[in-house]
Assembly symmetry: C2
């Protein structure tokens, strides 16, 4: 298939507050980040533009730097495109950068790594200004144990026990993923979980955090967690931590 | 007038995100911070409770630590009152502390000083997460001049030229106020104006910031500003900076 003559492949980095969106992916009659970007680009292009992202984010999940790509016939310079998009977009989505990319640039399958951050607020009271951006958990937690368990996720594992419960796996696709780093730290009154990996299943980061929280509450041991990382594990995915604490931090390409 | 026997005078410190409120003061059929607090306290007390604040904040203005007081017959301990209020309040209003106060404690006329902070974001792009909490002004400004002008507001001045335009002054009340400190600083990509004073007129801080911004744009000189601080000045109040950048930081009592 040949592209329309004169179209360019554009790559944008986008930050968004996911609070008011039903996630990244276009859904009929619902506000989504992809749908909002496509609508704005449709106005600039004068015809439908399909936007591809590096992956989906769930409803309420935020992005500091999601990467997306699309083809554009409009010859607008990249810097002007960024400004034009930001003028038309609602203030909870911002195009942080725009540039011309290689024609074959594919934000999803071309990504070599992704990083996420999950923020747990440990203060007794959640400041009003943070209410959409942290998971507020002021109750007792064995944080030391949680920190010790963080690195267990590193390496190549079958993450079946951390996939979304509605992931029916009908296609039998592999749930093996490689995690490069997985670390929980305490920063001020926040516990922050940072994870960088080759790719992530739906709900995977939130399910990892949910399981770490269960361990912190004393409901789950190191052995329980290791069992969940055993190939062919049949334990159903643990509690899913709330969306609001999760940020897609960056997407890497080789 | 005697209080109901057995009532206590309670003092609370409250933080709020003003974005979704029509300001502090009760207004019929509109969501306000005072109205929301009174509604929640009415549930706890089982009868109407009148809440007095240290002063009003405008629609969209935030508070890190507003002070309020009310009388309560319910013998609930102060720490439990705080928790009960936070359970019932929406997450954009938080009671940070609650304590029993002297019977004569009067949050408005008893205040000896108030501090405000106004945040101007100078970055080209406003992060989605800050959109309700800064005034985004990415355009050129003579920041050095603005910083030099900041301290001109210190001391006792007639702030008629900085009062709200709808302040009709029918009662002829003095518009003289004492400012203890007034300072503009650059912190990272933010210009922050901090002011502490004995009291403030409606819109006064936003009008000071509006005038400082006009000076930064080259539309107003040091002499123009000094003229506005001259007793009896008849210059109408300058542009009012947007509410979203303003935070009530603290209220002091002797």
């Amino acid at each position: 298939m040949r592209e329309k003559s004169g179209t360019r492949r554009m790559r944008v980095t986008v930050g968004y507050d996911g609070t008011n969106y039903h996630g990244w992916q276009v859904q009929p009659a619902l506000a989504t980040v992809q749908g909002t970007l496509e609508s704005v680009l449709g106005q600039i292009e004068g015809s439908a533009v399909h936007v591809e992202g590096s992956g989906r984010t769930d409803a309420g999940v935020h992005a500091l730097a999601q990467v997306a790509a699309f083809n554009l016939a409009n010859p607008i310079p990249a810097a002007n495109l960024r400004r034009a998009m930001n003028r038309l977009l609602p203030r909870d989505i911002r195009v942080l950068s725009a540039e011309e990319a290689a024609r074959e640039f594919e934000p999803r399958y071309g990504a070599s790594a992704k990083s996420y951050e999950y923020r747990i607020l440990r203060a007794e009271i959640c400041p009003p200004f943070e209410r959409f951006y942290v998971h507020h958990h002021p109750y007792p937690l064995n944080e030391r144990l949680m920190m010790e368990l963080g690195p267990l996720f590193e390496g190549e594992h079958d993450f079946t026990a951390f996939a979304a419960s509605d992931d029916s796996d009908e296609l039998g696709r592999s749930k093996v993923r490689r995690i490069f780093s997985s670390c929980l730290t305490r920063e001020g009154d926040r516990l922050i979980y940072r994870v960088r990996g080759s790719g992530f299943l739906k709900h995977m980061v939130r399910n990892i955090v949910g399981v770490l929280l269960e361990a912190g509450k004393g409901n789950l041991t190191r052995e329980n967690l290791e069992a969940r990382l055993t190939p062919g594990c049949a334990i159903p995915a643990g509690p899913t931590a709330p969306a609001r604490g999760l940020f897609l931090v960056s997407v890497e390409y080789e």
